[in-house]
């Protein structure tokens, strides 16, 4: 019997098969943050339940935290209570917390892999839909709600129904300056935001194996935007190289055995997938979303679709009204107010390097009100500063911030004012996501940087050729 990578991790963690189609699945790693955990801890208290395995948990503060003037603390009293509640809960239960005073603090999906807490073959959960990110390390990772957070705290398990297997095979090589962000936006444009519902998606093919782990994380991260809870990529040499020397990796004593196990974390040849889609990396140009769903996406050198090309005209009209755009408008002619480089999708060191290449020696357009770079973690920030990237951004007119989720969802002070338009490296362009009535265009870090310099969208390939 041939098995997919997903089948293997599933079988390895199955404790019990229930009479209905669900199974009791063991969870190896549990990441928590301030927004989706307080009610879960409360639930434990009410029922006087203990935490099953504290060692499996890692906590950080990221969603609500300031990215500027941290010495003043959190000024919003409601945010402050939420962060302090996490601190209290971690202290009470003796859970490791990476807090604002720790250089290892950062966005939960950046620090998990960075510290080696995310390991191949693990089942990993977090009360956050972008937990799919960790699948880039051949770990079965998915977002859960607060009730499930409580369930995992109390039992180290979840009752789950097995997903179907979906393989997305990408042939060929990405063109220069086209990134994995463009590729995943392109794929979401093709399969739609519910294309992956009920599936776990495994990405494979030359274009995928060519990617760095950080680029793979960007794709797995946005897999939830295609409707699938988990994205997966097979373990390979790139994975192994990335993991080397990470803090929480298996000790020397166990490393060889762990590696042997990790090397088995690939889909068997000719394993059965319930659905397969094949794409060609050569077809992918830099992408820009134009609407309020990630599937509303188009190449930068194209136009806003016209009504005759859409399936749901009512939704299309509402969307363009919300976005303040007209049918047939050239993407390149759209002017921006703000630029956001950051989020669990694109705030890792390679993302900052990509953007800084564009920015080097340039100035942010005078028409841009604000351009911010928010590194994903304290360690990413320190690495970027060691490479002088902070200076490149600051010289160009970008603000260089402290790590957190920031303007991806604007729970802290970084958000769009009504009707402001933003080129953002984040993951969701939903109505109001970055701020009430704010208008989001999702792009790669390099494309966001170009938009900051030009004041409007512009093809990064041309920009770099002209540079």
């Amino acid at each position: 019997m041939k098995h997919t990578l997903y089948d293997k991790i599933w079988a390895d963690h199955c404790i019990h098969e229930n009479e209905d189609k669900s199974s009791l699945i063991y969870i190896d790693r549990h990441l928590i943050h301030e927004v989706t955990s307080p009610q879960a801890f409360d639930g434990l208290d009410i029922k006087k339940r203990d935490i099953w395995n504290k060692q499996s948990i890692m906590a950080t503060t990221d969603h609500n935290v300031p990215t500027i003037n941290r010495d003043k603390g959190i000024t919003d009293p409601v945010s402050k209570i939420q962060v302090e509640t996490l601190r209290d809960n971690c202290k009470k239960h003796n859970i490791e917390l990476y807090d604002l005073d720790n250089i290892k603090q950062g966005i939960v999906h950046v620090i998990g892999p960075e510290l080696g807490m995310t390991q191949p073959g693990m089942t990993l959960v977090c009360g956050d839909s972008h937990t799919s990110t960790h699948g880039a390390l051949a770990s079965l990772a998915f977002g859960i709600g607060t009730s499930d957070v409580e369930h995992v705290l109390a039992t180290q398990c979840l009752n789950l129904t097995k997903d179907k297997n979906f393989k997305i095979h990408v042939n060929g090589k990405l063109k220069p300056f086209v990134t994995s962000k463009d590729l995943i936006l392109y794929i979401i444009g093709k399969i739609g935001t519910s294309g992956g519902t009920g599936f776990t998606i495994e990405y494979a093919g030359e274009a995928i194996t060519d990617l760095s782990i950080e680029s793979r994380m960007t794709m797995c991260n946005m897999t939830i935007e295609a409707g699938a809870k988990s994205g997966l990529m097979a373990f390979d040499k790139t994975t192994h190289d990335y993991l080397k020397d990470r803090e929480f990796l298996p000790s020397k004593k166990h490393y060889d055995n762990a590696l042997k196990y990790w090397e088995s974390l690939v889909s068997d040849e000719s394993a059965h997938f319930d659905r397969t889609e094949v794409f060609d990396a050569n077809d992918v140009e830099p992408q820009v979303t134009w609407g309020t769903s990630p599937e509303m996406v188009t190449p930068v050198d194209s136009k806003i679709p016209t009504p005759d090309t859409v399936t749901n005209e009512e939704e299309y009209i509402d969307t363009l009204k919300y976005m303040g755009l007209e049918p047939g408008v050239e993407i390149n002619s759209i002017s921006l107010d703000k630029i956001f480089i950051g989020s669990c999708t694109n705030s890792r060191i390679e993302d900052l390097r990509d953007a800084s290449q564009v920015v080097k020696g340039e100035k942010v357009s005078s028409s841009i009100k604000q351009a911010i770079v928010v590194p994903g973690s304290g360690l990413v920030k320190a690495q970027a500063e060691a490479e002088g990237l902070d200076k490149v951004f600051i010289d160009a007119g970008f603000e260089w911030r402290d790590p957190g989720c920031s303007m991806c969802l604007g729970m802290n002070d970084d958000f769009l004012q009504p009707y402001e338009r933003c080129a953002s490296t984040s993951n969701r362009n939903f109505q109001g996501r970055q701020g009430d009535k704010g208008r989001t265009h999702l792009v790669s870090p390099a494309m966001a940087a170009v938009a900051g310099i030009k004041g409007h969208f512009y093809n990064v390939k041309e920009f770099m050729n002209e540079k």
């Binding site: 009791l24 699938a228 604007g410 109001g432």
Partner: protein
Amino acid sequence: MKNNNFQGQVIPINRDNVDTDLIIPKQYLKSIKKSGFGPFLFDSLRYTTTATLDSNSDRTEVSSFILNQTPYKKGTILIAKSNFGCGSSREHAVWAIQNYGINIVIAESFADIFTRNSYANGLLLICLDKNIIAKIINDALSSDSYKIKVHLESNIITLPNEENISFTIDDSYKERILNNLDDIELTLQYKNKITEYENKIKQTKPWLFDNE
């Protein structure tokens, strides 16, 4: 839900991809409680301006939005199109729907995490065919009152014109909804099996437990 039968006014939301950011915007996720989200359900569609958890007064309603209109305002059954609840995993979306007084959501399809969150809170989700949804939305929008009956025991929905529509629902989900079961307690019945499994992987994957 404690009853097998349920009757209520339909609230038609004529949209695909109703995401959880739309159901409850981020500024209201700062609460550390499970209650109090009802006033902020569909906040950005309901009001002309935004508010905060501790300051929510003197806001102007968007009169064209369904929840600001009679009879929908007092509705208890929400109906929308495909991929309802997509996006963020925030369980606050389910809490907001329930806090508002809605007991059932009907759609063509639901996002995976939203479905799990609904199960955990006993919010009943029912999938119906696209054409039936379109008909109910249409009829609900053009009627002064549009109440439907949901018979959970027999998996039947009765429309105001007495037409019966059957739906399918997972039996274990139905049992959980009807009996309001404690999921954690159910899992803890397998406590010994979980410990047994842990003992096994301590041998086969010792690196997960021993960092020395």
